[in-house]
Symmetry: C2
Subunit: 441 residues, 2 copies
């Protein structure tokens, strides 16, 4: 057996501590599968005195993450600090420059600097691995890199944010409003005090950016992602979706089209009798459509110390096996700039919900505006407010408001937007119409 691979861990939060624990307790199991011994030698974190529930006495303590990153005592630098810039960036950059392989769980860092860091890694012959950065314990990065790579991939998509996937099903099963469920999720620790990053879709977008680049061999293009959060989804939408045979999920989708690559994160209708519709709570999933392999989906815990640590350790094992496949499979020099397909060119079916003044000609005008843009309708449901609020009469009389829900046949985003603008201008509806994209699964 050759000499051991020496590890240094920067960041000892819940994930860092779980990695230390796993390496300690599973030494024997891990070695059974590896040609080289792996050995944790040094750690760093902000506060040396904090009790993290793991014994760190056997490891060198280094005060500075960058110093650890370039230390001659380690071969692999494990970055679990987090953050798009600052110490995490400085340390990863320094490690790669000095030829050390890096394992990171930092999606923000890679979504913003992935291509540049991949180049740096290749220049110095180091590996840059990030299974834990996308969908926690789900081994999707390895699957894309090593198992599904022989197929031309057409689409990669998934439920990539646990907070949103906790909130949306609760809104459905309990018929509660978004703000209400969000507050509960915050109290239960499933949502941050400032939830914008999760519910606004940005966390999912970070992960999507990495999936896209691996699937399509393109430079990481986080800024090209169309992002829409779940803040405006109402119980009325969730009920109407259910009635029409759908569930609403926050999906991240990367799709190869003739116009380029669509990257988008938005609330999406999926058929309720599909496996993805039953992926709920903090469970996430990623699906891949390849031309040979067909449709593959991986489901599992999208976050959490144990699952994330498991992914970090699987990257360490790959490095111990000698894997030096480029970070995004193709050599960084071969990654092509991403040709962005504009959202207006997106093709698909749409769900539209409007509160319409119930007067003669209103519906004819709406239907006419759709027809002008050649948007044809698959189904129309006109219904009372489903859940009457106290003090509000849910009955319907001429001149009052009625809820109209439309499902269109496939059309373009440009056409549907034009039709809705005209409908708003006509003045038959109150509030902005709700529009939710239907993904063709």
């Amino acid at each position: 057996m050759s000499k051991p691979i020496r590890l240094g861990i920067a960041g000892l939060g819940t994930v860092g501590a779980a990695v230390v624990k796993l390496l300690n307790e599973r030494q024997q199991r891990l070695q059974a599968a590896l040609p080289r011994r792996i050995q944790l030698v040094a750690v760093t974190a902000r506060d040396r005195t904090k009790d993290r529930g793991v014994d760190l006495s056997g490891f060198e303590w280094v005060d500075d993450a960058v110093a650890l990153a370039v230390s001659p005592d380690i071969d692999v630098f494990i970055e679990l600090i987090g953050g798009e810039t600052g110490t995490a960036y400085d340390a990863v950059e320094a490690a790669l420059r000095s030829g050390k392989s890096v394992v990171t769980a930092n999606k923000a860092l890679l979504a913003h600097h992935g291509t540049e860091l991949a180049r740096l890694a290749e220049k110095s012959g180091a590996a840059l691995k990030f299974e834990a950065a996308v969908a926690g314990g789900i081994p999707i990065i390895k699957a894309l890199r090593e198992s599904l790579w022989s197929s031309e991939i057409r689409r990669v998509y998934g439920i990539l944010n646990g907070t949103c996937n906790y909130i949306l099903p609760l809104m459905m099963t309990e018929g509660r409003a978004f703000d209400d469920v969000l507050a509960e999720a915050q109290a239960a620790g499933y949502a941050e005090a400032d939830p914008t990053f999760d519910i606004g879709g940005f966390d999912a977008a970070h992960k999507l950016a990495l999936l896209t680049s691996i699937a399509f061999g393109t430079e990481v293009a986080f800024d090209d992602i169309y992002v829409e959060g779940i803040e405006n989804i109402t119980p009325a939408d969730i009920d109407a979706a259910d009635e029409l045979g759908y569930r609403i999920k926050l999906l991240g989708v990367a799709l190869k089209t003739d116009a380029g690559i669509e990257q988008r994160v938005h609330p999406t209708m999926v058929p309720k009798h599909s496996a993805i519709a039953e992926v709920n709570g903090v469970t996430n999933c990623v699906a891949v459509d390849g031309d040979d392999v067909g449709a593959i989906m991986l489901v599992g815990p999208g976050a959490g110390a144990g699952p994330t640590a498991s992914s970090v350790v699987s990257d360490i094992m790959d490095i111990a096996r000698g894997d030096r496949t480029p970070a995004f499979v193709r050599p960084a020099a071969d990654l092509v700039p991403q040709e962005r397909a504009r959202m207006r060119a997106h093709e698909g079916a749409y769900y539209i919900r409007m509160s319409v003044y119930d007067r003669p000609g209103a519906f004819a005008a709406i239907a006419g505006r759709m027809a002008e843009q050649e948007v044809s309708l698959e189904s129309i449901v006109q219904r009372r407010a489903h859940r009457a609020l106290p003090g509000i009469d849910a009955g319907r009389a001429p001149g009052e408001l009625t809820n109209v829900v439309l499902i269109t046949h496939p059309t373009t985003e440009a056409a549907i937007r034009k039709a809705l603008e005209a409908i708003v201008a006509d003045g038959h509806i109150v509030h902005k119409p709700q529009m939710i994209r239907i993904e063709n699964l």
Copy 2:
């Protein structure tokens, strides 16, 4: 770049032809991810003259598979002949003895000779890889070997046979009898003329045997698997399951218990609001419960030329990357003989359906027999025959038959079997009672 890896393919059925096509058409894409060139040099099959829709003119034709297996012109032997013994066995054995790595899609061969062949491979320093042997295009072997290995695995289970998974949902959606749907599946090419191997559960058992060994580090123990097919599932069961919140699937399950390892293939009730319940048709899935990584499930095409070829090529890529991890992760010498947990020790909840003579005391006697074995009941549904057949009166009168469906609380297989034997002996029921295990997901 070092010298190319030279491949020989034995067996040019639909999968073999698809592998040739994939290697031809995807050369550039594959090489982008590999440090060494892969080159198909020779092929063999029974009939040289047959048109397989792929150009074989560039490859050496070898008449004999064993001769190809030991040919000095190849480095990797790809076995796509099939069969537990005969040419497939002889050729794989010869290839491994001569130090050539082997990629195979042959689950029967490995279920019966896996441990022995793994030993042979290690002795000569060759790789033995079989992603395509389990669940077609689903990359579960790689996930278990490389991504989930740091977790102690408690259970691995899945829907491992496409034929059964095509028949059962059709019985549900169309309310048709097993024989009727089977005949249609045969006509459509989803079931063999002799369907025993699939519907009897043996195909799923072959795959389960391999999953078990990788998950638990044990010798392959196909003969230890408890196997029960779907032949006796009736529309009445499917309806009752639906009413009680379940779907019926043929599952293969390997579970670590205090009594040893349970390996079993049988019709199983799964909650209808679960992702696995929505895995239908030729789509298969494999799920893993690990103590760190949590619950992971992979879903995808369980068969078919494209998906299977994709898995064969991913194994070839691993070999090109230099991967020589033992076939079942641990070195063959470290695989422990499997300690079999007997089915009678199985613990779980049960669904029982009985046709009971509707007379005073009948139900009290049944409930008494359950109580004697300390089996407690979670729910009891007494119902008419749901779908009256022409000429049969589905009405109910004293002395006639009534359908009784019970769901038990968790108990043991020994207890439920004893209770049912006593109930049969009491003479209150007609026919053998139906018993379906409920898996705790």
